[in-house]
């Protein structure tokens, strides 16, 4: 079909908008979907590394020479967590994900010696059993939270919010509130569950300080306490969390994923991951706490090079969600087993229907017939391979820059390919030699 010039040049009133409004004229409410924002925003692809050649003595390094060992949580905890690579699996709820998916993630992470995180649905015994480093999430809903589970964790994460949907809480549609999930969360089965947006027992940074101390007392000051913040007013939030006594901060940018959210907040609230990391780093620098309080970046980290860039911008580690899910077969047609078009109405590669519970590959579903399609051990190997590939990518770029430790990557190794990325990441635009950075204004 030949589309006329007028139609193909249309801004603001695209085909997608037409369809969306027609659906809303039936629906009468906001639309919900899974995955993350699809807005075109400056992201990691818009910044690049710049190795030195004649200007710097190149060192003969191979990826095997590069260290990726990462230690997080030396500020207050007795036992910091130690992982073999600076990428771990972020918290995703049991409820949003199937039991098989959570188990595969734990096994996969353990295979490479990195961490997993529980989620907005409590801890599964399989998670603790298979994970070598498990971060225990305490979030606004407190579903499934028990002192014993918390004490069994290797770190505690206080979730203030998620980058995908700042200012709203978790959403689990009725299709996924099965009898088992309902029992775990102590809810009526089949309802459209909405988690609270803020914690029941603390309301401001002053109380957060007391709350964090409480978590430390529960865990005998053994384990790091990190605070997960959606990237919004980053400097204020990071500074307050650091002052409230966090060992680490997880900054979750706009490109982060979710099992279900209204499009209103998915696409239209929060700031991107690139400036999120930079502002968080600056906030810690201004407090004199950089590297004393660790920084984890998350929100659309897709591969090892994204991770390396995040680390160069100031993160000590990154957390992946969507990438890990994709390693579990998300959006992959399994011949003879799945039929995406028939099951979810779109071809494989286009599905964002996590919230419906109809996941054809058994990841974001509570239907046992679908969950069966996820072979746990095979999936665990795929997750481990993804993590290994990311680690190898990080090592490759690190040694190309002549460095022996991935944590030695810094902003000085980066340049930006366009103006937006340059201003967001505060790195010089290629060719401008830093002039754009000056006019962008340093500091606040």
């Amino acid at each position: 079909m030949i589309v006329s010039d007028e139609v193909s040049r249309r801004e603001g009133w695209t085909n997608e908008v037409f369809q969306d409004l027609q659906v809303k004229a039936d629906l009468g409410r906001y639309r919900i979907r899974g995955f993350s924002t699809f807005q075109r925003i400056a992201h990691f692809d818009d910044i690049i590394f710049i190795p030195r050649y004649i200007s710097g003595k190149g060192v003969e390094l191979r990826p095997a020479d590069v260290s990726t060992e990462t230690v997080l949580g030396t500020r207050y905890a007795r036992n910091a967590i130690s992982i073999s690579t600076p990428v771990y699996i972020t918290g995703m709820s049991y409820g949003a994900l199937s039991r098989s998916a959570k188990t595969a993630l734990a096994k996969g992470a353990a295979k490479v010696g990195t961490a997993t995180c529980t989620g907005d649905g409590g801890m599964l015994t399989e998670e603790r059993k298979y994970s070598t480093t498990m971060i225990y999430q305490v979030n606004a809903s407190r579903y499934g939270v028990t002192p014993q589970d918390m004490i069994s964790g290797d770190a505690v994460e206080v979730v203030v919010g998620q980058g995908a949907k700042p200012a709203t809480g978790g959403l689990l549609m009725g299709q996924k509130v099965s009898a088992i999930i309902a029992k775990k969360r102590e809810l009526p089965p089949g309802i459209d569950q909405r988690s609270p947006t803020r914690h029941p027992d603390w309301l401001g940074p002053d109380d957060l300080g007391i709350f964090i101390e409480m978590l430390r007392e529960v865990t005998d000051w053994r384990v790091p306490v990190q605070v997960k913040i959606p990237a919004c007013r980053v400097k204020d939030d990071v500074k307050l969390a650091a002052k409230a006594g966090a060992d680490g901060i997880v900054i979750d940018g706009m490109q982060a994923g979710t099992g279900a959210s209204s499009e209103v907040v998915l696409d239209h609230s929060g700031i991107p991951t690139l400036p999120g990391i930079v502002l968080a780093r600056e906030a810690l620098e201004e407090l004199g706490l950089l590297k004393k309080v660790y920084l984890v970046a998350s929100g659309g980290i897709r591969n090892g090079i994204d991770a390396a860039k995040a680390i160069a911008l100031g993160a000590d580690a990154v957390a992946i969600g969507q990438a890990a899910i994709i390693a579990l077969n998300c959006n992959r047609e399994l011949p003879g087993i799945t039929d995406f078009v028939r099951e979810v109405g779109v071809p494989a590669g286009y599905c964002t229907k996590c919230h419906t519970g109809k996941c054809p590959v058994g990841i974001t579903t509570q239907d046992p017939r679908l969950e069966k399609r996820l072979a746990i051990d095979e999936a665990a190997v795929r997750v481990a391979s993804l993590l290994s590939s990311m680690t190898l990518e990080m090592k490759l770029i690190t040694c190309a820059l002549g460095k022996r430790n991935v944590h030695d990557l810094t902003v000085d190794d980066l340049s930006a390919l366009n103006v937006e990325a340059s201003m967001m990441a505060k790195v010089p635009m290629v060719g401008s030699g830093g002039t754009l950075l000056k006019s962008a204004g340093k500091g606040k």
């Binding site: 002053d206 007391i210 204020d236 407090l287």
Partner: protein
């Protein structure tokens, strides 16, 4: 990010040996886990011996003597006369006599580059600085200052540099003896600030708490009673807030509709103490005084009623 505390002696005389300043120091120190970046107090019901005491602070990038010279000139130009100036580093406690419009005097002082006013009062003054309550006392010796009532605040700042300007209590320009301490965050701050600015009010900071001081002062200047002004604020202010206002003769508190910020009260026939946490009040009150927790959307006021038998104390 904050803790607030206040104390008021109902008959204006304390039967205790402790000065109001000392009691505030103890209360604020016990809440330092709520914020140690800066601490501030306002001690009211003092006898200055001059018409007003003005607390001025010189901003860091200016030379102090130069700025104070400018302030002297500003006061003299309006017919005021300075009686004493106490020196606390970059702070000056200026006792002056003046019978004109206080708004003009404030503007005149504020027009001196590098001068900020922490308070102007007939019987009260604001003392605020970086550090915790004990550090504040070491520098400014406020634990010796007595009065009929006082309020205080501890702050956890988001700014990194040393910054006193955004500390509480906020003085309500240009009304003497009206100060506010606030715990919480106003969400309609920008809108309210613009409305006041259009009416000619000046703001010295970007802190939302300052607008509460201006709001209350505006109401009081239009002859609303303190209690009514506080009641109206419950609807006019949006966000989370628990705040305490001090005037020359009393104080009042308002708690938002969400009951989001903590606040407890201990009261006897002689005195009333309020604070963000009970731990502060137990420093002053014995165990057997019962604790009261105000409900959401609530306003309370207390007055100092000075009986004739109270001796007039000179500073």
């Amino acid at each position: 990010m904050c803790g607030i505390a206040a104390i008021l002696y109902k008959t204006g005389e304390s039967t205790r040996s402790q000065a109001v300043g000392l009691q505030l120091r103890e209360m604020l120190y016990s809440m330092r886990h709520r914020g140690v970046d800066s601490t501030g107090v306002n001690i009211a019901g003092q006898h200055f011996g001059t018409d007003y005491v003005v607390r001025v602070v010189v901003s860091e990038d200016q030379g102090a003597s130069h700025v104070i010279e400018g302030v002297r000139n500003a006061v003299a130009a309006l017919g005021g006369s300075i009686v004493f100036i106490n020196d606390f580093g970059r702070f000056r406690r200026i006792g002056l006599n003046y019978s004109g419009d206080l708004g003009k005097l404030s503007d005149s002082i504020l027009s001196v580059k590098g001068a900020e006013i922490h308070s102007i009062g007939r019987s009260s003054e604001v003392i605020k600085d970086v550090g915790d309550a004990y550090e504040l006392d070491k520098k400014h010796h406020f634990s010796k200052v007595n009065g009929t009532h006082g309020l205080g605040h501890v702050r956890l700042a988001t700014e990194s540099q040393v910054d006193i300007t955004h500390s509480h209590p906020f003085w309500a320009y240009p009304f003497p003896d009206i100060t506010v301490v606030h715990n919480g965050q106003l969400t309609n701050y920008h809108k309210l600030k613009r409305e006041f600015q259009q009416r000619g009010f000046r703001f010295q900071t970007h802190n939302d708490s300052e607008v509460i001081a201006v709001y209350i002062a505006d109401k009081l200047s239009r002859r609303r009673k303190l209690g009514d002004a506080l009641e109206e604020s419950l609807d006019d202010l949006d966000g989370t807030f628990t705040y305490v206002v001090s005037t020359d003769s009393g104080m009042g508190m308002a708690k938002d509709r969400w009951s989001a910020k903590p606040f407890v009260i201990l009261e006897t026939d002689e005195m009333v103490g309020v604070a963000s946490e009970e731990v502060a009040l137990r420093r002053i009150f014995p165990d057997d005084v019962r604790r009261i927790e105000p409900q959401e959307h609530e306003v309370l006021t207390w007055n100092v009623s000075l009986a004739p038998r109270i001796k007039v104390r000179l500073n």
